[in-house]
Amino acid sequence: MAMTPDGREAAIPEDPAVGPAAADLSSLVAAAPGDVMAPIVVANTLWTSTNPGAYLGTGPAFTHLRDLEGSDLLLSDTARWGQLEVIPTKADLIVDLIRMNSLWPLLSGLACCAIEMMSAATSKNDMDRWGMFPFRASPRQADVLIVAGTLTTKMAGPLLRLWEQMPEPKWCVAMGDCTCSGGRYKRSYSTIEGIDRLMPVDVYVPGCPPRPEGLIYGMMKLGQLVKDRRGHWPEHAIIPNVPQDV
């Protein structure tokens, strides 16, 4: 998802009337490292919102509930579009629901935690119930990389390679203390203190090793994360956000 180095301002037209300028691809360059991902905003040229602030990034027009009730926004259906940043979002929800219900882990275990990872997939506590089986042997077909066990400096390269070989969208679960923080081998000369030095981690499952139930809980949390990637849907601005202190 390409965007300008200075994030969302350039992607959002100052004036909605000159919308197509935003769609000018020449203004899109590669993301600078460490830049925050901002959604590409489809400039609305067909109708003016009752809450232009939502498009200009200045926040809701109403800060108090009484102003909202005083206005006629609640009577019209245009209010529900008030704060949406991206218009075609419902399809993404469906896709996320699909993805969260079939998370195929990669069949790769590093050390002790691998045994508990296998135990989480076996009869007693059955990970397959959430569609997290079969373990794919090839990283090309896996969705989740469960890093189970101590990561050594010699294994770091191959693990990065596995992570790069997995096709997007992919997620990483750090299982065990060694992968979360270095664990009991933090002092060693050949281990890496936590895999978040190497790759982005979505869910940490501490424990040495964590029980299979712990891993399953982490995977369910990952599913929730996949679903709520863009924020919690029910709160997604049916009406403008109202501060808590009102």
Binding site: L110, S123, M155, R184, Y185, S190
Partner: protein, 412 residues
């Protein structure tokens, strides 16, 4: 595996400020430097019709992060070169830098399928250094838990060997039994897998009711269930045909290769540390040492069947332990801070994979001056290169699984 090393400089992954030649993350089956040893130059030179096939460090069939470079001719394995160290955690260095009590937790994850044995040998060595007399109840508890763990390890081995041969179901049946055992051990140790249970001069905590009730329930059906699981595989023609006459190991070779444990006994050598060099209360217990392959050495099927026999023997031992378990304390009286007199000690136990030894040098401080851990699967893994020549790729899995390696122990 297929890309060629690019030229140009890149920052070293050790230190980004260092510029190195070549390309990051390029996997090279053939090392990108000239061969350093005779063996390496012999292995990494191909005759026509041969090609290298790299397995691992992440491969479904290499138990853990073992990497094996196969030199294959069609489907036939001409030669192979195991590359270790992808799980090397420097445990020995950590042990030399930690307190005698901490060492028990440091060595736990070495043989993570049977952790208690990795605690047992160091603890025995420290007790020799300190001249501690372990209470007999503690010894009995050690034997009891150890044999339970031996059973779970052998049962997992049964499932794994079936999984590597393509059978889906046995591994799940094995894990049912294994979960039962580790749950009952967790009842006294508090952990499912890396029990930090043995202590210098005893064990940490006495048997409790939950353990005994779980053990009773399990023992009531263990033997029958084990026979059922065995029947699932031993009566399968495909399984037997794939295991028989594969990787035959004869007596002299096994001894010369310094093999130990079931792999040695399946080659016809009745060597078991529990009998050959008695420790703990094993002299008081009545059990047999199953031996196979006395005529011309043992193959993979022998190695598999021998472990299945050992499970029966372990069940016998557990039964005896439960019957003549003495009363009394489970810990000897010891000071908190242990400073043994300078000296050297060596203790070895019979782990599920063979002789598990520990060699400790004390220099009078509260940390060992040198601590060497001898892991059986490290030595047994050498047999892979010996037994696999001329077999097919599929047999590679059968032989490797039948040797029962645990990478945590191999790489320390």
């Amino acid at each position: 595996m297929t890309a060629s090393p690019g030229t140009g400089q890149h920052p070293s992954m050790d230190d980004p400020r260092i510029m190195l030649d070549g390309q990051i993350g390029q996997f090279e089956t053939v090392p990108p430097y000239p061969p350093r040893t005779e063996r390496e130059s012999e292995f990494y030179s191909l005759r026509d019709g041969e090609m290298f096939l790299n397995m691992g460090p992440q491969h479904p069939a290499t138990h853990g992060v073992l990497r094996v470079v196969l030199k294959i001719n069609g489907e036939q394995v001409v030669d192979l070169d195991p590359v270790l160290g992808y799980l090397h955690r420097g445990v020995e260095k950590l042990c030399e830098n930690s307190d005698y009590h901490h060492i028990i937790s440091q060595v736990d994850p070495l043989e993570y399928v049977s952790s208690l044995f990795t605690e047992w040998a160091p603890v025995m060595a420290f007790e020799q250094l300190l001249d501690v007399q372990v209470p007999r109840r503690a010894e009995y508890i050690r034997v009891l838990t150890g044999e339970l763990l031996r059973i779970s390890s052998h049962i997992l081995y049964q499932g794994w060997i079936a999984l590597d041969l393509g059978g889906l179901t046995p591994i799940l049946y094995s894990f049912i039994e294994r979960d039962e055992i580790v749950e009952m051990l967790a009842a006294i140790t508090g952990q499912r897998m890396l029990f930090n249970y043995f202590r210098i001069g005893g064990v940490n905590g006495d048997l409790n009711h939950e353990f005994m009730s779980r053990l009773g329930d399990w023992m009531s059906r263990a033997a029958k269930q084990h026979e059922a699981n065995i029947g699932l595989l031993n009566e399968n023609e495909i399984f037997v045909r794939r295991m028989r006459d594969i990787g035959r190991l004869d007596r002299t070779t096994a001894l010369r290769m310094a093999t130990s444990g079931p792999n040695l006994r399946s080659a016809g050598v009745p060597y078991d540390v529990r009998r050959a060099h008695p420790y703990s209360v094993y002299p008081e217990l009545d059990f047999d040492i199953p031996v196979r392959g006395t005529n011309g050495g043992g193959d993979s099927l022998d190695r598999y069947l021998l472990r299945m026999d050992e499970v029966r023997e372990s069940l016998k031992i557990i039964d005896q332990c439960l019957h003549n378990m003495p009363d009394g304390p489970v810990m000897a009286r010891l000071p908190r801070l242990l400073r043994p007199r300078p000296g050297r000690a060596w203790a070895a136990v019979e782990a599920p994979r063979g002789l598990y030894g520990t060699y400790v040098i004390s220099d009078g401080t509260d940390q060992p001056f040198r601590m060497k851990i001898h892991d059986p699967s490290f030595v047994n893994m050498q047999l892979v290169g010996l037994l696999m020549k001329g077999n097919l790729i599929a047999d590679t899995m059968a032989v490797m699984a039948s040797l029962d390696p645990v990478m945590g122990g191999i790489d320390k």
